[in-house]
Symmetry: D2
């Protein structure tokens, strides 16, 4: 990787070009290479078998769209220095570097109270120290502390290249062609106005399409009931392991690193263990799950076998919360069938909520630049599709449970 | 074409299979072959150069989706006889056979007061006579007189294979990838309930996507201001030619057939001249326009030269109608610059309206079959995107005019 | 078209950008716009219904690849001035401007002894005069007279952007996905060495693939027997019309321009009639054919009706020439069935040859730049697929004839 | 998975339908689900980041093509019973079930002398016992012992659905679009003649294309020098671990199952340990490699760190074998730089050969059915591309080595 120009084949965009030594250095870094071992969509592949692409692939893709977006803005006369360009590219390359095993699925479960963005920033700071301060500007852009807000908005905003890539790529690898968005058209319509990222009026239908595609991907893919169930089982497995450890029962993961986080995950300061964190990936977690298929704790081993063999819990979705009395009753049934306590049955019968907001006009804004020179939020546009009904969060409640007949067989 | 099975390459679907002698006979018929010479999207190719596909190609594509939909329904246990199957396929093959030159663009202009569907039916009746009554059932399905309404709804309804193909195909050939719909998923979700076509609940996001894609295609492609302008110029050329003829001025088309319709178009009964109509295609009209580039009438020849050389009138769109006083003023300016009367300037400066309804819950309905066995209209679904704001027609008003500087040069 | 930057949707490449006023001027010129009315693949759409794309679309596509190739070479340090860049782009935009109606199918038939490249050059010279000499450099590059040969080779050579586009585009629109080539990879591997275009060693499999895809497209599409037959019928129609005219029989085309070339085509100097030539397109020829369906000459009208209604002559292909005795016999049979002379039957029963050379190492060369710095021709590469067996022209002989039963019906 | 019909989204083919209870039972079996955890292309993703698809996905894809091929043959009148149909589908679903971790890369390394096909058969026999003999016919077809040879040839032959899927799928996921083959056209051209699978003459260019695409995929992807190097490093890691174990040094894998095979792999009878084998997957091997990054043996830990962090050995390819004297010299250099013995340096500096035969007319045959009713081998066809030069195996020799500067840093 010491050439001055490298071309990577990408089934989504054709070719991705890397043409700066600092970019190559970042990509070659073990902290970045680790992203090869973290799947972008966790267990979505249990429903969409093609969805096995990695965080590394996604961040390369988002980097490619960043290159296109910056070139487009420069062609339109927006002043961007070569240093800013490289920094914005590094910021997007590393924006997800802080993801742990199975990405969002295990966030907040392995290590309490820590968003992946915070860890991404720690990683950037670490590489910054290694490279004698060459990531300073990238960190400022990532943070939103740099005085050209549009650069941060390209990394993280309502129309950022992160979303454009993950919608495009997840749609591509799942084969849900309806998730396709017109990323190239949207990028061609980007402008900067008062330092902020805006889009030209004529992109309005493409943006509607983008929001609707996102909505579709959420309900059809990310929150697909079977996907949701598998990911909740993963969370439950880790919670059960931690509960057993907390109760003094031995639950060792074959991976030393994962063991460390299982034992210490509640209280540790991530800053002190960043290097360890950066050795953790899907292989550690799946290795543990495979090993726990034989664990003496029946609940833990049952959950692990079910996840590995794809014999998942049953799941139901509905618009209202599930009644606690109903839940208690269900736990009792399972407890009886499996011969376990009702408390333990809570690891096999549980509920929770999933939600999605198609467009949130309060938190984030898509600003449209009209031909008359005015800027308005997309939700204010005449005849727009994107109106108040799309800006309320939509919640669905899931209920996962074990078929009693299966319980009898498994326990 | 006397083999029992023919495979046609289609860039959109891969291969289209024709495997029944009657279907081959219909396809080989000169009335069907004529559709090769009628472009699906009239002058949209002036903006989207790939959009040069033909009515024949579209109707073959819709036929292919009909084959898929029928197979799907049969797999789900819906009773469809082989005769019904062939008839539904013929109905869709011929559903657009009644289109005249440049499809919708010239509908109602060449021949007054006649929808293409009526002519399609006359054509089916004519081929029916030729084949000794073999199209009887196809005609009933096309008409909506057959007692399995879902067969008619597949040909013509809110979710028919006609729309699925034209959205897919027009999106493909224009390169507007955002118009892509999940036709294969929608087809897999079709069911029949009480003889009517319904879709399973889980297709709901795909259908939202379908309606949004259609909305996007309307505003971005079909009603694109330049496309609209070119098609209005085409209409105006024919109107000018007819006005001249009406005033006793000689305007001959090089095509005898087109001449006949130009002279007689107002009063003729199409039933008496179906064979003539079926000789008419884009080549007759464009041949006339090319020839009229040299016509002594300055207005006619200017319009023809502008359309042929793609030096179109200017166009503006707005949400409200253009003020008649403004229009009169504009006509006066043009009249002066071109040295023509204000009445004649009305052929170079004109206004009108374009409209689109994304989903009309009154006229047509998309019925959803819920898991609980109930049927509801899509606009009644909780959290649905498709609500009242999408069911009102949205109108835009166009204003086409001649730049005075160009007027001076052209006249 | 007076903006400084225009984006065109292309289903093949996504977006094509035009960002120079001179390029816009060339594209807006009526001589260029005429290419909208000339189909790229003549009558191939009778077999591949999607193959209705135009010469204009192809030349825009080739222009897009030229933009990519020039950017790639500049990134590799090849010195190309902005003037050379614009000139090379104009040369490729206009490289096919000299094509007449139905492109290759009628070349040498309407006007004797004139290759389309010569007319393209006349057209460039004409626009050059109009623009005060701004196409001078483009003409030199087109001619091969400019002292950077690689620029000419990009326009016209064994690996030019013309071929890359037409293979890609024709494959796309026919739906023959096997014709797909890795144009983007080949372009990324282009270099300049001693002023000549060469390709890097690692592109070798892509180039093999390119040559094999071309071979496949020739035999499966361009020389498909039905396509060949339709195009030979077109040629025969024009030849028959000219023969009748030569014999003093009136054969008028509805188009005045086409009439001129029919009467004068043998002897005219194209330089004197360039403007007329540039008014000629597919519509003139098809308009004539449609009109001649009623011509009193039975042979002419039969051929025209057969072509319009797609009821083509039968055709056979074989590796050896057809025996003259066999041909005479066949003509006699047809003459008898149709009630015409044997000489006239020669317009319904005829033979000829079609040939293709996959790679001709003598005339054109694909030069490979090896890692060791040497240049060798691709046919010299070890283990190469492209060897002597691919460099001999392969001939096939066709025999078109009229089924006697059809002859009796038609005549 | 107890429904009678299941639809799976596939980015390559759209939808894959499973509509038989026995097929669902096979797919739900843990032995089949294990294939989710074995990557189809081992370490090719280090070069092609999209190439992370699994054996499960490939076998579902091959199953889909099998469904298409069987339907095609039935439509052509080939007699195939429903039982044969299901059996052929099961045979292809399980054809790769015997692959161990990292598929081909580790075949013969973990367990000596055993081809994956033999293990696939043991797995089929095991499921056959579980299901009371329902896989009997599938096993006969897989074996080639069934008296309709074409069924076996669809599973395993020169034009089997296995190859069609892996070329298509690997091309799709790597983004090497040139590997695309016309699988749908080839399938449409399949016939049965004398019980053997043959293809119609007009598929000949598609088959040439298929062979050339395969050739390209071999040299550009499967045997890409970096891919080759990574996979040889994987093999070397296992060999080193085994060598250390053989020398009495403790090398424990975190996975108990993998440990078993590491200790016993030389001598075990797979029949006795099939269940254990079916618990082994990529996660066990990668878990061990991650753990061995800290192993006291410097050679083992260096190789593991290099592979995990993608800091691979250097590699060179050439047409002739590398000279033993040169290899000895290189090993000496590395030994010195790393401070290890020359014998140990043999794990960091090694050579070997890679080979590919595009078409082997002796072992396997592609039979063409000509229009005249004759059958000939494709290599006998006139003007064929596939001639003797393509039927010799092509060998390349690789040389992997450690840059001395890196050696000093790592050791």
């Amino acid at each position: 990787m010491n050439a001055t120009r490298k071309i990577v084949n990408d089934p989504v965009y054709g070719f991705i070009t890397i043409d700066h030594p600092l970019l190559m250095q970042v990509i070659a870094h073990p902290y970045y290479q680790r992203l090869r071992r973290i799947q972008q969509m966790a267990f979505a592949h249990l429903v969409y078998p093609g969805a096995v692409h990695t965080r590394l692939h996604h961040s390369l893709g988002a980097y490619h769209l960043m290159c296109n977006a910056l070139m487009e803005l420069k062609n339109k006369g927006v002043h961007i220095t070569p240093e800013e360009e490289t920094a914005a590219k590094i910021a997007i390359l590393l924006h997800d570097a802080g993801h742990g095993p199975y990405s969002h699925a295990l966030e907040h479960t392995l290590i309490k109270g820590l968003r992946h963005e915070s860890i991404s920033q720690l990683i950037m700071e670490s590489i910054n120290r290694e490279t004698g301060g060459q990531l300073e500007l990238a960190i400022h852009i990532f943070n939103g502390q740099y005085d050209k807000p549009f650069l941060h908005q390209l990394v993280s905003g309502q129309l950022d290249v992160d979303r454009m890539d993950y919608l495009t790529r997840d749609s591509f690898f799942t084969g849900v062609s309806e998730g396709v968005i017109g990323y190239d058209r949207i990028i061609k319509m980007l402008c900067v106005w008062n330092g902020e990222l805006v889009v030209e009026e004529k992109a309005i239908y493409s943006i509607e399409k983008f929001l609707v595609a996102r909505r579709l991907m959420y309900w059809q893919v990310y929150l697909h009931k079977t996907v949701l169930c598998a990911e909740k089982m993963l969370v439950t497995i880790i919670q059960r392991a931690k509960a057993l450890i907390g109760a003094g029962i031995k639950v060792a993961a074959p991976s030393e690193i994962l063991n460390f986080f299982l034992q210490e995950g509640e209280n540790l300061k991530i800053e002190d263990h960043l290097e360890k964190f950066c050795q953790l990936d899907d292989f550690d977690v799946m290795g543990a799950i495979k090993s726990w298929m034989q664990h003496p704790d029946k609940v833990l081993s049952a959950l692990c076998r079910m996840l590995v063999d794809r014999q998942l819990l049953k799941v139901r979705l509905q618009a209202e919360p599930f009644d606690p009395a109903f839940m208690a009753e269900q736990r009792a049934i399972t407890a009886k069938a499996a011969g376990i306590t009702e408390e333990d049955a809570g690891f096999l019968v549980f509920t929770g909520e999933a939600s999605n907001t198609t467009y949130d006009p309060y938190e984030e804004r898509i600003q449209i630049l009209f031909k008359d020179g005015n800027i308005r939020d997309i939700s204010q546009v005449d005849n727009a599709l994107i109106q108040h009904n799309l800006s309320r969060p939509v919640k669905k409640y899931y209920f996962c449970y074990l078929n009693p007949a299966v319980a009898e067989k498994l326990f």
